[in-house]
Symmetry: C2
Subunit: 118 residues, 2 copies
DNA sequence: CTGTATCCTGTAAGATACTG
DNA sequence: CAGTATCTTACAGGATACAG
């Protein structure tokens, strides 16, 4: 993964993505979700980015897309086993970030203040 | 973290970055490293990106930068407790990616093949 | 509702050259 | 050695309009 041209680097670089991670966390904690539910849950994501990230996750075998041929159409996304595995590693990361966010913001202010002089 | 304007979202978006994660993993598994050692370890990273990522990590209180005033200068980076915490969450993610990379690549080929018709 | 297609802009990031 | 500064370009990603 530390080699530029390695497949694992490629995969890693795409998974380590803000939207993908938030989507995985949402599907993991909220269960199967429709497109619009996901868009509401993942604040600030555009339809374009949501579609794109979901396609990536689907393509890599992490997420399943199910279309119910109704009118209006209903599309539900849920985690495949592979996605569940990843989600369980990502969730601690999310919880840690929320727990430590304030501390990091404080560190930044301190850093910025210390480097403002001069 | 699911709210667009929340500090934790901001912090999260910056930590969830290819280079930052690879740097954290390197420092965690290899111990304190000089700038050039890091650049060699994290394949494909430019000086610019390495500097920028390290600054971010330093600014947020995850990494410590130590300058030894010699000639030629020597600069060593190592993890602070906060960085060590994060690194321990990121490492499983890295190991998982390497373990599953092939499987995901296969899933992609299958997906692409299935969507090529038409 | 769940997308796709198009346009448009800012910015991420490589290449290169320079500095203490 | 360990950066900084500058330039340039590709692409990420928002806005908008349209479609099944």
């Amino acid at each position: 993964m530390f080699a530029p041209r390695c497949p694992s680097r490629e995969v890693f670089a795409e998974l380590v993505d803000k939207w993908s991670m938030l989507i995985l966390m949402t599907l993991s904690s909220c269960g199967p979700q429709r497109f619009s539910e996901l868009q509401r849950a993942v604040g600030g994501v555009s339809r374009k980015m949501l579609t794109q990230s979901l396609r990536n996750l689907e393509r890599s075998g992490l997420v399943r897309r199910t279309v119910f041929p109704e009118t209006p159409p209903r599309v539900v996304y849920d985690l495949l086993p592979l996605g569940r595995e990843l989600a369980e590693l990502v969730e601690p990361l999310g919880r840690w970030t929320e727990r430590r966010a304030e501390q990091m913001m404080a560190a930044r202010e301190e850093f910025d203040a210390a480097h403002a002089e001069g």
